[in-house]
Structure formats: C-alpha cells, structure tokens
C-alpha cells in the first residue's frame, strides 16, 4: 500500500478556518522564518480560501463560550490531554489535536470536522474485525451465539465504557469551548427523559412475516445484524432531527471515544500501531468463555454430536458416589464414549450430575483451541509466514 500522506490529510480533515502552527508540512520547513499568517501554496491548492483568516492565539472568554467544542490551539496547552497521551503510550505520530478531537462526541459538536464520528466509524470496523478474528481463530468450534456474546464482552458498549474509566478519562459536565480538551465532551440525556422504545430482546431466527422472510437461523445475524448479533438501529433521518441535539448516555459517549481513538490511531500511526494497541488493551482482557454457555438439552446435544462425528454413543457412568440415601449425597458421573471419558460432572442427584457431565463434555468439544494462534490479519504484515489452513468445523450441533 502506498504511504499515506497523513500530514496532508490532517490539513483537510481539520477545519480550513484554523491552522494549527504545530503541524507544519515537511515541504514548508525552510519557510519557517516567514510570518505565521503566510499560507503556503500547497495548502492553498487543497483548501478553499477562508473568509475569516486565522484566529488569534488567545481567544476571549466570550468567544470560547460560544464555541461548541474547544479550539484546536487549546489541545497543546492541556495537561490532561498530554497526560492521557503519555499514559496510553500512544505513538508520537498521533498529534494531541487529533486526540482532543476523539474526545468530542457528535452530541457536543455536530460538525463532522470537529467531532469523533468519522474516526468512530472506522475504529468500530477495526475493533470488530480484530476481535472477531481473534475469537474465531482461538476457538474455531465456538457456537455463533457464544461468539456474539464474547464479542460483546470484549468490545461491547459496557466493556468500552469500563475501558474508558480504566484509562482515567473523565467526562465534562457540559460541553463547550471553555472545557479542557482532556475531558470527554458529550451532551447528557435530560433527566427523566423517555429513552425511546427498548429494542426487543429476542431476534426471530425463523423466516416469518416479522423478520421479512429473510432469516435462516442464527447465521443470518452475521448478514443482517451488527457485530454483536443485535438488530441494527435504523439511522435517524437528518431532516427529522431538527435543531434540537439529542443527548447521549455516558456509556455511548465512551464507546464512541474508544472507537474513535482506534480509528485515529490507524490513520495516523498505521496498522502495526493499532494492532499492538488492540493487543495491549483489548485482547489482554481476561474472559472466561466457558461461563458464556447455556445449554437447554445437553444430553440430547451430546448424543447428536457423537452420532455426527462417528463416536460410540455416550453412556453415563458413576465414577464415584457417597451418601446416596442421606440428605446430602454427592454423585460424580462421567460420560463415556466407549472407553474414552468425554466429560465429568458432580451433583447432589443423579440427574444433576449427568447433566453437568454432558455440559462439561460439550464444552470440551466447543472450547477446543489450536496449539498455535494464527489470525488472517497477520498476513498483512511484511515477512509473514506461509498461511497454514485452520480448522473450519461443520458448525453448531443441529438437533
């Protein structure tokens, strides 16, 4: 891929009205002795002529109060922002001004040139891609419902809100131009306001009138729904939302910020930086995937699995027991396929122990993990080893 001229990009992405003096393109290094208001010809070719001219360095209080978000000059003098940049060990190629922009929610500043919406869209795609490939490559046999749950646990709104708190990002009480750029700026939801109709918890997986006749089981969710398997919220009409800016929750604003930071990092520092960022902050989080399972008929499922894979049918055998006629018996039951033990479970009744054993056996099947973790995106890196085929399993057990 050709090297991106990011410095040139940053000029057009930032507002044409304000020119931060800290960002100087390399072609103009020799012209530094010229006056600050001189507009180099390269920039003129890319940006339209501004009407107002460059704003003065120190803005007046009245002017600041009128702005929806802090001016770009404020970023270089914010201690909070610099501390955040250092704390997250972000590469120096990511400017402070861009970091300041990622902290501005669209509800604070509707202009897409000053808020984090463009970055957030890109960052959302990147996070979804890297997380899903990590989960699927690490546990190739995981059922799709559990994959969705794991995605939600790693990069869902609640996880990203927790990450924002862990990073020590504080939220401003109300957005404005006078706010320190190191705060997360968003317009809060008015108290006791109607949050709108709650989205339905269950998504139909059968083709019927409610789903528009296009659903074919849970796999349809990968096509029609978002990365967590939830129905995508319809985009609000731009005409319908008039001048009133709707508030967002702190969770939503934190989610947008984290996604925006990822997107900005990718644009300014490149793929390797964003991958290491993902590894350090998202992939390193501990999740017990075994706790995400919930089986309704585990014995039936295990029986179908053994039939499908050609193993001998599973038989529950009592490995050990104690206190059968007492008030607190303990049965340890193992599920055997021939002489091989598939799973073991303990319970205070035979039924409970049998079901636990079947659950353990099914988890032992689904949580298979290859010895070496290789993800498809590592082939983008230079000097990648030849791609070895990975396990693609037949899918969930169908009863």
């Amino acid at each position: 891929m050709k090297r991106l001229r990011l410095l040139r990009w940053s000029d057009t992405v930032l507002s044409p009205r304000t020119r931060p003096r800290t960002i100087i393109p390399p072609q103009c290094q020799c012209r530094r002795w010229e006056s600050a208001t001189h507009q180099p010809s390269l920039r003129e070719a890319h940006s339209p002529k501004d009407v107002q001219g460059q704003l003065p360095d120190t803005l007046s209080e009245e002017h600041l109060l009128r702005l929806p978000s802090p001016p770009i000059q404020a970023a270089s003098s914010s201690a909070k922002l610099a501390a955040l940049h250092a704390r997250l060990q972000l590469p120096s190629r990511l400017p402070l001004q861009v970091l300041a922009r990622t902290l501005v929610d669209p509800s604070a500043d509707p202009s897409p040139q000053f808020n984090n919406n463009p970055f957030s869209i890109l960052g959302n795609d990147l996070l979804g891609y890297y997380t899903s490939e990590y989960i699927i490559c690490r546990y190739p046999r995981l059922p799709l419902a559990v994959v969705f749950a794991a995605m939600y646990a790693y990069v869902g709104p609640k996880a990203l809100a927790a990450i924002t708190r862990e990073w020590g990002v504080e939220a401003a009480a109300h957005p404005g131009g006078e706010v320190d750029p190191g705060y997360l700026q968003f317009r809060r939801v008015a108290p006791e306001s109607d949050m709108g109709p709650k989205p339905s918890a269950l998504i139909s997986t059968t083709p019927d009138a409610s789903s528009g006749w296009k659903r074919r089981g849970i796999s349809s969710r990968t096509v029609y729904d978002d990365e967590f398997g939830d129905v995508q919220q319809p985009a609000k009409d731009k005409k319908a939302s008039s001048t009133a800016i709707e508030g967002v929750t702190e969770e939503k604003a934190s989610t947008n910020f984290v996604r925006a930071l990822t997107g900005a990092l990718y644009l300014h520092s490149g793929r390797a930086a964003v991958k290491s960022f993902f590894r350090e902050h998202f992939m390193s989080r501990q999740l017990n995937i075994a706790s995400l399972f919930n089986f309704r008929h585990p014995q039936r499922d295990l029986s179908r699995l053994c039939a499908r894979e050609g193993f001998q049918s599973p038989v529950a055998r009592i490995v050990s027991e104690t206190g059968r006629k007492s008030r607190h018996p303990v049965f340890v039951i193992g599920v055997f396929s021939g002489h091989e033990k598939l799973g073991e479970g303990a319970g205070s009744s035979l039924d409970e122990a049998r079901i636990c054993a079947a659950v353990a056996a099914l988890k032992g099947w689904y949580l298979y993990s290859p010895t070496e973790l290789r993800v498809p995106s590592e082939m983008e890196e230079p000097g990648a080893r030849k791609w070895d085929r990975m396990l693609v399993d037949p899918g969930d057990i169908v009863v």
Binding site: A290, A316, L342, A346
Partner: protein, 209 residues
C-alpha cells in the same frame, strides 16, 4: 493398674469439612482422659498414607494430592481433537507408554465404572404397519391408549410412541394442561416456592462453568 476408659467419641472422631476453631477447641477440651498427655496421645490420629512419605520411594519427592475439583473444560478429550492436531499423537504415545508399563507390572486393565441406567441396544423392530396401528389406536381412544400403554404393547419406549403419535390427541393435551393448572392452583406458598426453586436449579445446571 491400667484404667480402662472407653473414649469412643475421641478414638473414632470424625473431622467434618466445615470444622471451625470453636468446634475443635470444644472437642479437645471435652476430653475423656485424666491427664493432658493421655488426651493428646488419644487425639493423635495417623494421617492418610498419601500425606506421608512413600515407603517404596526412598528419596525426597513431591506428593501430588490436589483437592477434588471438576476437570478443566479447556482440556479437550483425545477423541475430540481433530486429526491434524499434534497433541493427539503425544497423548497416544503417552497412553502407549502407560499401557506398556501396565503390561510389565501385570495389572489388569481398568474396568469401566457402572452405568447409571442399564445399557441397551437400539432395536428397530417396529414396521410401518405397527406404527400405523399405533396411530389408529391412539386416534380411536387417546384416554385408554396412553403413551405408556402403547409402549408396553409394542415393546418400545414412551418417547418413541410420542414421536409416532405426534399431533393426534391435541384435546387430551389441553385437558391435561387444565388438570395440571387446577392442581397447581391448590398449592400453598411453600410448595410453589419449592417447585419454582427446583425449576431454577435445573435451569442453572446447564450453565455450569
């Protein structure tokens, strides 16, 4: 003269799992011997051989005695491993070594534990005519020809009878539901709570970690 005291409680004392310090002190202070020395020697119980150094191993070694816990679900059983996985080969080699050792020490191969329910062979002895007969009887009189009665007549399980006669006696199902509702409405608070708790517990079994 040797005093014969029978401290039955002390000699065969069982140390329960949920032992608190207070209970322990109470047991010790409740001695049945005349002197502290005798009490102490009575309370001296020999630990399980697995906690003592092995008689067959003369040198220092590690005693591996983990607490009882369910096996790790992240460990995949050998037959669940795909054919291309390297661990399959390693496990089979290890199993081969163990079996060779077992052969040399001449111990019999371990038997499988007893099954929970007696094992049975699936029989496919029913023909289409039998199944049609089953449906005919069910249609004729669902109250008389219940699933259990049909299962006994055709020497099969009631689950199979339910598969074959699915959708035939819908009125009986509705009637049975009503009967169940009436019975449940007569339950008191305790019974209802106990039943609901049982249902919640059963649901939780499928979510075991």
């Amino acid at each position: 003269m040797k005093t014969f005291s029978a401290p039955c409680v002390v000699r065969s004392v069982i140390w329960p799992q949920s032992h608190s310090c207070n209970n322990l002190l109470a047991l010790i202070s409740r001695r049945h011997q005349s002197s502290y020395r005798r009490t102490r020697s009575r309370l001296n119980i020999k630990p399980d051989p697995s906690f003592l150094p092995s008689k067959t191993e003369p040198h220092d070694h590690i005693i591996y005695n983990p607490p009882p816990s369910p096996p790790n679900v992240y460990h995949t059983p050998t037959i669940f491993l795909p054919k291309t996985d390297k661990r399959r080969q390693l496990y089979e080699e290890a199993a081969g070594k163990n079996s060779r050792l077992a052969a040399t020490s001449s111990t019999p191969p371990p038997e499988l534990p007893p099954p929970v329910r007696p094992t049975y062979q699936k029989r496919y002895h029913l023909t289409q005519e039998d199944m049609e007969e089953m449906r005919r009887l069910r249609r004729k009189d669902p109250t008389e020809w219940s699933a259990n009665k049909l299962a006994k007549k055709f020497d099969t399980s009631s689950i199979f009878v339910a598969f074959v006669t699915e959708g035939i006696a819908k009125e009986k199902r509705e009637q049975q539901k009503q009967v169940t509702e009436i019975v449940k409405s007569r339950w008191g608070v305790k019974r209802r709570t106990a039943r609901e708790d049982r249902a919640l517990r059963k649901e939780r079994w499928g979510r075991d970690a």
